[in-house]
């Protein structure tokens, strides 16, 4: 590899896209090494087999997997390879990463999320830390993401609204499902503020991308119209068009090589044919998903970093975050509606753009006063029919359901009701029981140790989740839903991961500095969700995009 690039970026998802496009636009030569293939709008269909039934956008677990450590009932940590359990921790291993398949619920963090420890104090057993930067430092980049990614929404004043430098979103909200009126009415009656959910989906054409076609299948699906603000559609295509950016897909980086001074000199990777290759650059940026970023840095031992890059104080891979909370459902039976209402409720396409932030912060005796809560989002049950039908696969005795009883149940599941779901997002507290290490017994198809992930949670997370789920249920009750139920657990949602390389001012307690540069490596940045010391109580993607725009400015200034 003769060419020496200004910047080599490992990964191409939400954490990578802003750095790639900003630096390419600024005239830097940028090389992107992405493990997955390059798919585009022409490859994305509303095909449940492709999106959700088979591993189309993620590796075969025999080839690449994780080892997951869970706590058994007797308190021991028990590990199991995912090729054995079938518990798939991959999200989207393609150009643009998992942002291709997100639902695009976009929330900013709030100022207090940047100083959770100062605001709410320590919680025993949790490693809560303030961020080394403030909301004010991040705000311009949240705003930038709104226009660059294309975020649709409507600002509504409420008691926990975060400050904004612009008055409103650059794109009006996406179309709304008729059930939204019922949600609003119920919230009014309960004196709650029903908030329009900002969404990274274009409500009108922008920058060569079409607006949403409202097929009703968004989350888990690649976007055919280009409306979804994936890193690929919103950023990479433009970066490549500058002529300064080269994307090598099917290129799996397995080690960053450092010299005697501890500087990264080469990225070592396997190409599509499994042949080892090298890439050289002045600066290196890693953004290949929180778990895989920690894995790559742990694997990248060198003369100055015998335990991996950024791991001279045993901080690397620690304080991994998922998203705490849970979900619930209420049913609205068509038999109880007049025909017109039923037909409106059956509408497929527009979004249920509603959420509640009334309890983002709250005061409650059971929590010892002032406490951190989270967000409640409403959504329709996913329309995926095979997944929906699979819920009828078992009868009440847990035997397989077949024949006439199955057909009866299928008819009920599909034609009996519209089901409104809610999801609760609250902080997954960082603890010593949630971290990434290397499993030297299990290798991927290239022979590298896979990531071992311990997925312990803090009991406090369940308490907050249950508090919020109860509140969400009151809305469904007010709406007159039947069969309302919810569940909150410590099971980690595999599509909401952050942390592992927390940023901070002290090398002894963090991996990255405030600029997201590895403390003791002069030319290595991490720009995916790994940097977050605490996750806030919203999906991470907007913050990941914003932070990557922020770091892009920092790298630009280095010249």
């Amino acid at each position: 590899m003769s060419k020496d690039y200004d910047v080599c970026v490992i990964g191409s998802g939400a954490g990578a896209g802003p750095v790639i496009s900003e630096l390419a636009k600024a005239g830097k030569s940028v090389l992107v090494l992405e493990k997955g293939p390059w798919l585009s709008e022409e490859d994305f269909f509303k095909d449940e087999m492709a999106c959700c039934r088979r591993s189309t956008y993620t590796p075969n677990l025999e080839d690449e997997q994780h080892v997951i450590e869970e706590q058994s009932n007797n308190g021991n940590w028990v590990s199991e390879a995912t090729s054995e359990s079938g518990w798939d921790f991959w999200n989207g291993n393609v150009v643009g990463g998992a942002s291709n398949f997100m639902s695009g619920y976009f929330y900013r963090l709030k100022p207090a999320d940047f100083r959770l420890r100062s605001e709410f104090g320590d919680i025993k057993g949790a490693n809560i830390a303030d961020w080394p930067i403030s909301y004010e430092d991040m705000e311009p980049y949240y705003a930038k993401a709104e226009t660059e990614i294309g975020i649709s929404g409507q600002v509504v004043a409420h008691k926990h609204q975060e400050p904004r430098s612009t008055k409103n979103f650059p794109f009006p909200p996406t179309s709304e499902h008729p059930i939204v009126k019922n949600i609003d009415k119920a919230c009014d009656a309960l004196n709650l503020t029903s908030l329009p959910t900002p969404r990274a989906v274009l409500s009108r054409p922008h920058n060569g991308r079409n607006s949403c076609e409202y097929s009703g299948y968004c989350g888990s699906y690649g976007c055919h119209s280009g409306a979804k603000g994936s890193s690929r559609a919103a950023l990479l295509d433009n970066a490549v068009a500058t002529g300064n950016c080269e994307v090598r897909d099917n290129s799996k980086v397995y080690k960053l090589k450092t010299n005697a001074q501890g500087k990264v000199v080469e990225a070592l990777y396997f190409d599509v044919n499994g042949k080892p290759q090298t890439a050289t650059a002045k600066q290196f940026v890693v953004a290949c998903h929180a778990i895989e970023t920690s894995r790559l840095l742990l694997s990248s031992t060198g003369p100055k970093h015998p335990n991996g890059l950024g791991n001279n104080y045993q901080q690397l891979g620690k304080n991994l975050l998922f998203s705490a909370g849970g979900s619930g459902t209420g049913e609205f039976h068509y038999s109880k509606m007049d025909q017109l209402t039923a037909s409106a409720m059956k509408t497929r396409g527009p979004f249920v753009n509603r959420g509640l932030q009334d309890w983002y912060f709250f005061d409650d005796k059971a929590f010892g006063g002032k406490a951190k809560g989270g967000v409640i989002d409403f959504l329709l049950r996913h329309p995926n029919p095979i997944s929906k039908a699979s819920s009828a696969k078992y009868n009440d005795d847990d035997n397989l359901n077949w024949g006439q009883p199955l057909k009866h149940d299928l008819k009920t599941v599909f034609t009996g009701s519209q089901d409104l779901r809610f999801e609760v997002f609250n902080d997954w507290l960082p603890t010593d029981n949630c971290f990434v290490s290397l499993d030297n017994n299990v290798k991927d198809k290239w022979g590298s140790a896979v990531a071992k992930v311990r997925v312990g949670y803090h009991e406090h997370d369940l308490k907050v989740g249950a508090f919020l789920a109860d509140k969400a249920e009151t809305v469904l009750q007010q709406m007159g839903a039947d069969n309302i139920r919810s569940s909150v657990s410590g099971s980690p949602p595999v599509n909401l991961v952050a942390g592992g390389c927390r940023f901070g001012d002290n090398i002894k307690t963090s991996v990255l500095d405030a600029d997201c540069k590895v403390h003791d490596v002069d030319n290595l940045y991490v720009t995916d969700g790994s940097f977050m010391p605490t996750g806030g109580s919203v999906p991470y993607t907007w913050t990941i995009y914003a932070n990557s725009f922020r770091v892009a400015d920092i790298i630009k200034k280095r010249g």
């Binding site: 269909f45 095909d47 956008y57 075969n60 518990w87 076609e213 989350g219 008819k411 999801e423 980690p492």
Partner: protein, 206 residues
């Protein structure tokens, strides 16, 4: 935003391997079944079928029969082309050969048990005896896995895009009043021709 806690619930590879191991004992191969005795209509779909497919078709018809109490016209396994779908999927490049072998070996097991209990092959049994024998194999780990796989493929045949060979004339979608999303997949962009399964395209800009 659809928090994903797991994918493909129900398919646990370790249980699957255990189930296969349970089949490692060789079961006597039952004689070739006769189409005339298939307890279902003698239609084009099943003409010229021989085992293992004949028995599999009969199992599918039993698990997913046409008609129901409220709708005599509701589709059954034949209407949704469940057999063709299963055959297509077993030939798909990502389907593990172990799974195919497991499904086909299950036919021998089923017929062996049927001969032992009733001195008849599965397809020759009346509906009540078919039900009994399937509920009997459901109680074993391997039998449960086999039936669970058959059910999984049936549900996929009912509701996947017709491009995969099932859901003939969208009968599954129509019956359940399901509104599909658009665009629907084309034959050259089915899942096993995309992503991890496809030969990579090079779109490098130097």
């Amino acid at each position: 935003m659809n928090k994903q806690y797991s994918k493909l619930p129900g398919i646990n590879r370790r249980q699957f391997i255990q189930a296969i191991a349970a089949f490692s004992a060789s079961w006597p191969i039952a004689g070739i079944a006769n189409i005339e005795s298939l307890g279902i209509s003698h239609t084009e779909t099943y003409k010229n079928l021989s085992d293992p497919w004949l028995t599999i078709a009969s199992v599918q018809e039993h698990l997913f029969p046409a008609g129901d109490s409220t709708d005599a016209a509701s589709p059954g396994a034949e209407d949704i082309a469940a057999l063709r779908f299963l055959q297509n999927m077993l030939e798909a490049p990502d389907t593990e050969s172990e799974e195919k072998t497991f499904i086909l070996n299950g036919v021998n097991w089923l017929n062996d048990l049927s001969l032992k209990n009733h001195q008849k092959k599965f397809i020759q049994l009346n509906t009540a005896n078919k039900e009994n024998i399937l509920r009997q194999i459901e109680t074993s780990n391997a039998g449960y896995r086999w039936l669970s796989l058959m059910m999984g493929y049936l549900i996929e045949a009912l509701l996947s895009d017709p491009v995969y060979g099932g859901n003939k004339d969208q009968q599954g979608w129509k019956w359940l009043e399901h509104i599909p999303g658009f665009p629907t997949p084309t034959i050259d962009k089915v899942y096993f021709k995309l992503g991890a399964h496809a030969s990579p395209r090079r779109r490098i800009k130097a």
